[in-house]
Symmetry: C2
Subunit: 578 residues, 2 copies
């Protein structure tokens, strides 16, 4: 492709406030916004995406996984069978559309468990037909409340989604591990520099056990906690840790009721009561569950003063779709006091009262008692309030906590872009959609499933977020839109032009994809575009064309060599492909 004919030209500047990858992809002309969260991939972006798709398809086929193409229009009835329709519509994560002639309602595929399970239910009859793993790449839709960061969080995006079907739990786990390996190969081939597989929350997909593939980079939206000693890593939403536990005395002190005017936070209390630390306090926090539904309700959660509540864990503990800290007016109703003085004693109208395991065994603790401007000291379970019947784990793990897996390491925080997510789904979807098989004894069994997703458009941008410098993108060979950027230093120089024409033609003859900058602009401008667009190699045909030499420059290392046409062509023809 000649730059003189290329659509579009690059831009020297772009909007303010973009993260690096978004800015570079926009400037170089890889994509454009069409609406909020809706993009068009321009020719350069399309070429990268095609290469990403190719890697995904190849690795899936290598693993014996069969590719297919599921529809975007997903019948409402199927999603009602799995009880996901109302959930997805109520949470406004699904786009829907109605067929005018028949009135049939469809969701625009945010994922495809229902359709693929229905298909498998219609074709699989015997244990001999299993296992099977099916995979597709196609557009997906999520009605994101706040699309941002270009291709990273979009309303319309592309996903690679795979679904495994096995005869038992062991088979499901085997498929899950197979896909974990396939994903590793894909991300390595696609040029991610630092990609971690971490434990993750399963969210609306459900099932038990899931792992996210995280492209580690400062601009990532997700917070990761990884052990500096073992291979434990988890999304902060899901991470478990060991946290320091003081020895609590068993000698109970008499309870004291203290005035604490305007003293509400743990920090303020620590200052007000020298000697009492956050680990000696219990916070009580009121949450409203399913606030947007027709029937919201309140819960109270008690947690040790130095810890924070992880709302994902709390949602899971409550099996709730959504929750949020209650509004001040609700807190006043529930506690009968101003915000800041909630406590475990005397709450009204809370549907459930949860105790985080961090409060287990605490003695002589400080807490609120639902009276404005007052706190109680030396409160004890069993004496002042009933011993909790059970505990839940809803506190957030933190950087610096001890690793729960190896007990020797310390958790470190980093950020990542979620490029993949794999799930063990167990039998929920198959049971709802009646996807069964006959086992060796002739008995009917429910299929065990897994599902697996890679955001292919998101991956494109994650690669750029990890592979760039101040001048532009640095594409890995495997996904670069073109292998080489060939340019004349002076397009009006006949010798340079003839040399470059020949070189481009020879390179293309051996299968090298070339972006040929034949424009009559300055060499400096061409250098800038070459760096911005980021092909792995820039080949400059300049003054030494008369001697039969051109300059090859590696975009990543910036190393340059002067070589003859034949040597250049030979180098590209024989290079190893990723």
């Amino acid at each position: 492709m000649r730059m003189s004919q290329h659509f579009p030209t690059t831009r020297r500047s772009t909007r303010e406030g973009l993260i690096d990858s978004q800015r570079l992809l926009e400037q170089a002309g890889y994509f454009r916004n069409v609406a909020s969260g809706v993009h068009a991939l321009l020719p350069l972006g399309w070429r990268v995406l095609q290469r990403v798709r190719q890697i995904v398809f190849e690795e899936m086929e290598r693993a014996g996984i069969q590719n297919l193409q599921l529809p975007i229009l997903q019948p409402r009835e199927l999603w009602q069978q799995t009880e996901r329709w109302d959930k997805y519509v109520a949470s406004k994560t699904m786009f829907t559309t109605t067929e005018q002639h028949s009135g049939a309602v469809f969701g625009l595929s945010p994922t495809a468990e229902e359709v693929v399970t229905m298909l498998v239910a219609g074709e699989v009859h015997s244990y001999r037909d299993l296992p099977v793993i099916l995979h597709q790449i196609g557009p997906k839709f999520r009605d994101e409340i706040r699309p941002r960061f270009g291709l990273l969080r979009a309303r319309e995006f592309e996903m690679s989604d795979a679904y495994s079907f096995d005869i038992n739990e062991e088979g499901m786990r085997h498929s899950f591990e197979l896909l974990r390996l396939v994903y590793e190969r894909i991300f390595t081939r696609a040029g991610l520099i630092n990609c971690l597989s971490v434990h993750a929350d399963s969210g609306a997909i459900g099932g038990q056990g899931s792992a996210e593939s995280m492209a580690v980079c400062a601009a990532g939206e997700d917070v990761l906690l990884t052990c500096d000693n073992c291979d434990y890593g988890a999304n902060a939403e899901k991470a478990e840790s060991r946290y320091p536990r003081p020895e609590y005395t068993t000698e109970l002190q008499p309870v004291q009721w203290e005035e604490t005017p305007n003293i509400m936070t743990v920090e303020q209390l620590e200052t007000h009561f020298p000697g009492i630390e956050a680990t000696d306090m219990i916070k009580t926090i009121i949450f409203t569950v399913d606030p947007d539904s027709g029937s919201p309700y309140e819960v109270a959660v008690c947690i040790r003063g130095d810890l924070e509540i992880n709302e994902t864990k709390l949602r899971n503990a409550l099996k709730a779709d959504a929750l949020a800290p209650s509004d001040a007016s609700v807190v006043r109703e529930v506690t009968g006091a101003e915000v800041g003085f909630a406590g475990p004693i005397g709450l009204k109208n809370v549907a459930r009262h949860l105790f985080d395991e961090s409060v287990k065994g605490m003695t002589n603790f400080l807490c609120g008692y639902n009276t404005t401007d007052h706190h109680a000291l030396n409160v004890n379970f069993g004496r002042d309030i009933p011993e909790p019947e059970s505990y839940v784990s809803v506190h957030a793990a933190r950087q610096g906590d001890q690793c729960a897996a190896c007990e020797h390491g310390t958790l470190r925080e980093s950020r990542g872009i979620e490029v993949g997510h794999i799930f063990m789904l167990q039998q929920g979807y198959a049971r709802s959609l009646n996807a069964t098989f006959t086992d060796e004894t002739g008995a009917e069994q429910v299929i065990w499933m897994g599902c697996y997703g890679i955001g292919t458009t998101r991956l494109m941008q994650a690669i750029v977020e990890q592979n760039n410098d101040k001048d532009g993108i640095i594409w890995p060979e495997s996904v670069a839109p073109y292998h080489a950027y060939v340019m004349t230093a002076r397009a009006s120089d006949e010798c340079q032009k003839a040399f470059a024409d020949q070189l481009v033609s020879d390179l293309m003859a051996v299968g090298v994809e070339v972006l040929y900058d034949d424009r009559t602009i300055s060499a400096g401008e061409k250098f800038m575009d070459a760096d911005l667009i980021g092909c792995p190699w820039r080949i400059t045909v300049g003054r030494k064309a008369a001697e039969g030499l051109a300059e090859c420059r590696n975009r990543r290392t910036k190393e340059t060599t002067e070589e003859a046409i034949d040597a250049i062509v030979h180098k590209f023809a024989t290079r190893s492909q990723c």
Copy 2:
């Protein structure tokens, strides 16, 4: 891929009443219905589609056309700018969806002129940036009133759509002709046996001048008229012809008013009035225009008795979106008579009265006069009714008519599946969306556009409709899901199994894609599946495996040869690819 692991297995029977291609694709397991007009492509179907896509992309790139990916979600505002939103929504051809958080409304792309023109408007500034042709392959959506014939008429389907942008009409015509050639190459490479480029109506896309690519086959929904002498061909909706015209006498006879009880049709009148032929009669037909809109209105059309009205031509003559013959009650209101006795004299409340050019110069003709059970004979323009001020051409061309292009040939009727449609759009879209450029003199000019579409999923099935026999599909090499179907006659025979394993491994090593039937079922069942699935070659490893020989059978010619492994591998490794 091993048949023992393949998803799904074939079916020996299928639903009744399907056309050949649909039946064979369903039985062999290429696709399944998910909802009316919504399909899932199964692994075999996906592989064929990938090959079709590859051919399209290659031919586009060869012609210097740049690939990109436009979104499915198309902002309503853009479609309002071109005044297509109301049209597409009113005619119920567009699926729409609403973004819940912002209230933004989108159409699901039935085509993408608006989005691509907006993109080009933002990037193209100078005549130096043109011409540019952009192409994508992606899902498309049309709210079809009656989806049918499998992939041929679906609500969700896949299209290759290209858009050209030029500085003037000459450029537009040049791009149009380039795409016509690209399409010819694509259809030839994809294995269509008989594909015609015919003149077509431009429909809702608009513009002037369009051509359809028609895969000729008996099951086609479109009627084609082609000249047996020259290369003229047209969709019957659009076809022009010369039809026989008797010499009409100039000697006017006195008008006669005749009773014709219950005699309404041309045939009945010919019987009732021996000697008066259909070419001596004028039929008057009442149409209701835009019947589903808020303001329908009636028109009357007069045409010679032996000819029929082509509703597409009539719609174009009236610049109407929709029309239909009026209901009996409306006809009674307009004519004051029962249906069958309408005539050109004394109609009430018709907005327009059109005369087809076939009635020009007729004398002493028979027609109705809006009186039940009566007709008039020897009616004449200028004497009994006013001479029409103008004539339109709204009669349908027919098989047997003389070719309007060469004047020597005769039109023959055939049927076809529309696999491609190319349009000269002129400047309409660019003007509405302000897509302009600065010409060499510095003046601002509106871009000239063309658009081009191939139904890729429809093409898949059209290929099958043209390439099958009673036993199954006969894939052309270029789009076959696998090159070869390798099978053992007896899977339990160790020698056969070892031979087949080696052969498959050797074939795959030289890049041949193999479907390996390793199942322990009878050879007869395997033969049936091989024929049904339709790979170009079947290689049977049977008794002669002991001698190192296998049988190669060509699916199309049914020719068989016995060959050694090395010879088979060599033959496949060196065969020419389409």
